[in-house]
Amino acid sequence: MLNFALRRLLLACLVALTVSVIAFFLVRVSGDMAIALAGESASAEDIAEIREAYGLDRPIIVQYADWLGKALQGDFGESLFFPETVWELVATRLPVTLRLAMAGLVLSLLIGVPFGVIAALRPNSWIDRLAMTIAVAGQAIPSFWMGLMLMVLFGLFLRWTPISGDDTWVHFILPAVTLGYYSTPPIMRLTRSGMLEVLQADYIRTAYAKGLRPMPVLFKHALRNAVIPVVALASVQFGHMLSGAIVIESVFAMQGIGYLAWESILRKDIAVIQAILLIVCLFYVFLTVLSDLLNAWLDPRIRVN
């Protein structure tokens, strides 16, 4: 297991390094940063001066090494539009996004796991079919549209929730529901198939045979084993939510890093885009490793292969 974990971590470091190269060059190749900094109407001398002042006249590899070295110490440079440094900006915005993604994940686990269990206990019953139908139909609805429709229904017509902002927990209800909705079907499906498999295992029959009641068998013996891959999936889903938050945050005008990313992309605020790209990618890499390690810990076959 230790061997597997070390190999997996090494791979993750390589991926992270590659991703940092992509995050840096992707934004760089697109346009001249000196012109972006100086403004469209700047004179050639101004641009040349800025190029020198920001070190943009150095070879791009040197610039990359410099950027990465500073980034590792938490220095992502200055934003073109905000008075704060990029690091301060991200640090103030990140909690909103993490809170939103966490709320969405908890919601989808709270709905997905019980429904998955019920569906597995009564395969092909009406409740199983209903859950699957909602899942299939739901995947077809664009998330931003769903957010807007919830906003119209609960925010404008029923006036139960605020329609935008991130001040109180009430503001998080609609965005979290929207975000969580899309992670519920995969969680439900995995719980269902995991439970179906576990319920046929010999030790479950043994548990019943020695006279245990159905509920303890279900929860202590079956669900405990069926739910570990779900935890691994949940960590991957958490990553998807960080990415999905870009769309949802801009629908609900929540000041998270998703909204910050969108604003910065529209304004070509290069330092901020690079920082967010790198940070979100690193979250992804970390969550994938976590999920892989969980799965490997559960299933020795993965470790050996």
Binding site: L11, L14, V15, A16, T18, V19, I22, L26, V27, S30, G31, V136, A137, Q139, A140, I141, P142, S143, F144, W145, L148, M149, M151, V152, L156, G239, H240, L242, S243, G244, I246, V247, S250, A261, W262, I265, L266, K268, I273, I276, L277, V280, C281, Y284, V285, T288
Partner: protein
Amino acid sequence: MTDATASRSIDTPGGPLDPARALGPSPTARFFRRMRGHTSVMFGGSVLLLIIAVAVFAPLIAPHDPYEQDLFKRLLPPFWMEGANPAHLLGTDNLGRDYLSRLIYGAQISLMIGICTAVLSGIIGTALGVTAGYFGGKVDAVITFIITTRLSMPIVLVALAIVALVGGSLEAVILVLGLLLWDRYAVVMRSATQQARSMDYVSAARAIGCPTWRIVLSEIMPNVINNLIVIATFEIAHAILLEAALSFLGLGVQPPAPSWGLMIAEGKEFLLFDPWVITIPGIALSILVLAVNMLGDGIRDVSAPENRS
């Protein structure tokens, strides 16, 4: 043997020793028969065909020019509401453009992006997946690393950043999504190829000195093509949703094109008094994506090995 005796021979088509009769319908024929009997294939397929027909014949069907503005007829409500204008069945947008016509032309954009993206990413993903699965070893390790790297980049964020830099347009969205959505093809084709490669007929082909490209094209591809079709349908749906999201965020297809995502973005400020402005394109998007997904689900059910009799 003369023609006369040949025609009386017992192994003529339909005769008692006709191999076709002994084996029953061909796998392809059985596949299509099962497709016809499958509800979600039939439903998803019919709806999709209908939308494709609408998109193809848009100039004939659309009652108005989708770009023609009439500021005296702004935000006319659709037919089920009071004050509707019979000339504009689904009303007009805030520039007085006919909503039904824009919706009809919007189908072209969604389908074009969905299909072109799925083809582009399909070519990239299949090439990577088949190469990794067929050659294994170091080649496999390198391609697996590329796949892992791609999977650790959030699509929406990366797509937004690239589109912002190269400028939003139909072609840019297709190119960016095509270069990003190949991961599922690569993963599935890699393992499907690994399985197919260990088959005896592949070893046989190798033994008689078949060139690699021919083994891949004529021995491996026919056996993994089902997977390819299923993933392609899901990626079409995925691309359509992503285009809508990008256009909604202002970084996809640019105005005045009638992209459904863009129509929702433009309707957002009228959400309070005219929620139908965002409801209509949203429903159109959901129906299209649902139809494509149902077709994909159905084809997967039908072509799954455990369903083969």
